[in-house]
Amino acid sequence: MGYINSVLTLGCIQAVSVLGLALFTGFTGQFSLGHAAFIGIGAYVSAILTFYYHVPFILALILGGLGSVVVSFIIGVPTLKAKLRSDYFVIAIMGFGEAVRVVLENLNITQGARGLAGIEKYSTLPVVILVLAVCCWLARSFIVSRYGWRAIAVREDPIAAEMMGINLFATKMLSLAGSAFFCGVGGALLAHFLMYIQPVMFTQVQSTQLVAAVVAGGIGSISGPVIMAIFFIALPEMLRIANMWRLVIYGLVLILIMVFRPSGLMGYHELTELGKGLFRRLKKEGS
């Protein structure tokens, strides 16, 4: 029980972060290999708040998310304003992720590489599911609103979008900040689940897994990435019997998904019914 519970909890926590990247990558079309940094910021901000200052968990959770939002402006404003090509942006944000880790390793309050131990445990499965549900609602609402339309337009054709009066920078920045918020919340949940955090937990490998879940789940879908996030956490566990081979298989599964379902689990599915249709679909998936 406890084991399944723990895997599910981790899966849902990952899903919250993946939801964030789904906004940025899936709906705004911007690729990123640095979002683990936002998870890290959220984890550290919230953990420091509950650990040193005994801030209530709910508040710490939200502040964790907001902390990531603040940091997202540091990378977002210069790079998105400069209209970097997407590949350049990827590398830039990858470097940014590393830089954040360096900072975490060198601060006193984070206790550096030694890690922060003794964080209170608040992230139980019900809590995590509740947060995930709320986040799904927020993300969905965002997507079906005019802010989501703008993001989708930017993803489809930035130039045409601009000619329709869409401010590219504002749209991308809003998505980045939103995704940072979700990742921050995910990080806060993670910290209060593991009860111990270390900068090495927030590497590019972690960012990669977020991207993998988003793309395998389907660009332009909310439900797909969430399902895939949980699946990708559970997969290595299911493969534990295969022991050494499990990561080999994991890699293979990733390729197979791309080869046989190139638009992901739910690729563009909710997209075609943008607006009312999307709502119907989510309901259907829910049942």
């Binding site: 895997v7 131990a117 270390q198 900068p199 022991n243």
Partner: protein, 390 residues
């Protein structure tokens, strides 16, 4: 040089060997399940894989000697990749799914720390092989003892102090520099304790440089260190980094003595470092020259066709310690086992005749610090060094 205890006592390993010719003992009751949470993949798997061999031999020996409480001991492995999040799943799985009675392994301090809450809640004793961070067994904030968490290795302050004092007193080094990995908690701790102890002993630290995990080229920090011409360069880092650092230091003509921590104790450092590590010193948890374990190492090598690292030896010790405690507890109740683990006295294990545990810290007492050197591309035992603790 020879191991301190000199004469060849019959180690449990050798007795296990003789027992193997006997017919297989018959067991009664449910087997006792021991979980092994270990990095089988990832960079740390060099240690993890070897640790697994040591534990397998230990379980074999215990079973051949009739098991524990007449019951067979079975081993369940779970891969941690040395990653804290992964470890939570691995340990949960061992505890909840496999229903193990005790856990051995969790070799890295960070990994052990993320496992601590789980085993504490489940009341499953856990013996860590090589997590040397003092706060694995003790809660840093409250100072309270983690009742179910133990370790078989010595802790970082002890190791840092031992190396510093040995360098100052025995090698007669008056100034030293440090190059460490900021991304590794182990390296950070050891660097700190070495620095403190070396200064306390009367030496000077001429330079303290750091790099980040994954670095391959150390010429820049080494260049800075070279300017300060230290007599000794302390490298509390992994064997891979150590080998590279030594090579590159010699390339840019740094003539200092190199010294390292227990992480150096992998044959890799010899094959990688070659001439550059000649004459270097490091501290170890066991000496391969020790006649007590020489035979065992050979046995392990022939059984698993691989190099043996210290984790194998520590895992073996941990298993014997655990077996003895369960036997004395008379049951597989976690609480009782933990109490017996805590009260272990003068137990005969692979590395020593009298293994004692400090009930206040769950650390082993008087764990010998073996000073090793590298000579003719081989490890050579120098002495067993007991640091003066104030």
């Amino acid at each position: 040089g020879n191991a301190g205890n000199g004469g060849a006592t019959t180690s449990p390993a050798t007795s296990a060997q003789t027992a193997s010719s006997d017919p297989a003992p018959s067991f009664s009751g449910e087997p006792i399940k021991i979980g092994h949470a270990v990095a089988l993949t990832g960079d740390a798997s060099v240690f993890g894989q070897s640790e697994a061999t040591g534990l397998e031999l230990a379980v074999k020996a215990v079973n051949e000697a009739g098991g524990i409480l007449g019951r067979e001991v079975v081993l369940v492995k779970a891969d941690t990749r040395a990653d804290p999040a992964e470890t939570v799943n691995a340990v949960r799985r061992l505890v909840d799914q496999e229903k193990v009675h005790a856990i051995i392994g969790v070799a890295q301090s960070g990994v052990a720390m993320s496992a601590t809450p789980i085993v504490t809640a489940a009341k499953i004793p856990m013996i860590s092989t090589t997590s040397s961070n003092p706060y694995v067994t003790i809660n840093k904030e409250t100072g309270a003892l983690n009742k179910y968490v133990f370790r078989v290795c010595f802790i970082d302050p002890y190791q840092g102090t031992a190396t510093a004092q040995y360098a100052f007193k025995e090698l007669g080094v008056k100034n030293a520099a440090i190059l460490y990995d900021v991304g590794s908690d182990y390296s950070q701790w050891l660097a700190t304790y070495f620095e403190e102890a070396f200064i306390a002993a009367g030496g000077t630290i001429t330079g303290k440089e750091a790099y980040r995990t994954g670095e391959l080229d150390f010429r820049a920090p080494l260049g800075k260190i070279k300017e300060t011409s230290p007599e000794l360069l302390f490298l509390p880092v992994t064997q891979k980094d150590a080998a590279l650092i030594c090579k590159q230091a010699r390339d840019i003509k740094i003539e200092s003595i190199f010294m390292g921590g227990d992480n150096w104790a992998s044959p890799d450092i010899l094959s990688l470092g070659k001439e550059a590590v000649e004459g270097a010193y490091f501290i170890n948890l066991a000496s391969f020259d020790d006649p007590r374990i020489k035979g065992w190492v050979e046995e392990n090598k022939s059984a698993f066709k691989g190099d043996v690292v210290r984790n194998a030896i520590l895992a073996y010790d941990a298993m014997l310690w655990l077996a003895d405690s369960i036997e004395r507890a008379g049951s597989t109740d976690g609480e009782k086992i933990a109490t017996e683990l805590e009260n272990t006295k003068d137990l005969e294990v692979l590395t020593t005749d009298s293994f004692n545990v400090d009930p206040a810290t769950h650390n082993p007492l008087d764990r010998a610090a073996y000073i090793m050197t590298i000579e003719n591309n081989a490890f050579k035992y120098v002495m067993t060094f007991a640091p003066a603790v104030n």
